[in-house]
Amino acid sequence: MTVMKLRSFLPLQVADIVNLDNISINVHEADFDVARLQRGLLSGLSEEGAVATFTGYVRRANDGRQVATLELEHYPGMTEESIKAIIDEAADRWPMLGASVLHRVGRLSPGDQIVWVGVASTHREAAFNACEFIMDYLKTRAPFWKKELGPFGEIWVSARQDDEARAARWKGGHTP
């Protein structure tokens, strides 16, 4: 995006500037190809050096339950906006060039890919940190909800304390 060039001559505290070369946020039912997503992240970058990525898969067992099907619900509109806000916050903390998030919704099976986060930067430390930060915040802030179906019936997954604790590690600008 050409808007990112604004960063060099506008003060950093100006809110809502899209300051990355490339931001991509997708929420859909279809499966995804990580190689294609990574190529998409790298396209249009003015420079590169490092890409850190995370792929999440549907677990076969969760809290001792054998999961046959996972249903993912989300809040269209707010989901994309909240992911954008998370990426913006990461970009304020680390020198990022681009970020891409894809989250699937609908019915998924154990072993299916569910989420992908990719961050491009000139150096690995920023890429690793920003990727982990985006994933931690996505789990605790983006409006997605999981329901597990299996021999036990169906159950809405409860929010996990350790996910909150992981996200809280980044408070105050600290790197864990």
Binding site: Y75, K139, A159, R160
Partner: protein, 84 residues
């Protein structure tokens, strides 16, 4: 007009995903709207909408304190998120 959305476990327990309400001439805040829904729909709604961990959003932004609403606002109630 106000649009009220419910998601996930809350949506299922209420058997309702969306409501459209007339904007009251007297004005309204989120807590008053919540109370109005509890009064209009009775006990199951009160039990569900007053759960401690319920999250409230106005115009797709999570709010932690009560806030005034305006005609045309979109309000959502949902349980803690579990994506990723």
């Amino acid at each position: 007009m106000l649009k009220v959305l419910f998601f996930a476990r809350i949506r299922e327990e209420l058997a309702c995903s969306v409501l459209e309400l007339q904007w009251p001439a007297t004005g309204l805040d989120v807590s008053a709207l919540q109370e109005q829904l509890c009064v209009e729909h009775g006990e199951p709604w009160r039990d569900i909408l007053t759960q401690d961990n319920i999250i409230r959003a106005v115009n797709q932004k999570v709010i932690t304190d009560n806030c005034e609403l305006n005609d045309g606002d979109e309000i959502a109630f949902f349980p803690p998120v579990t994506g990723g």
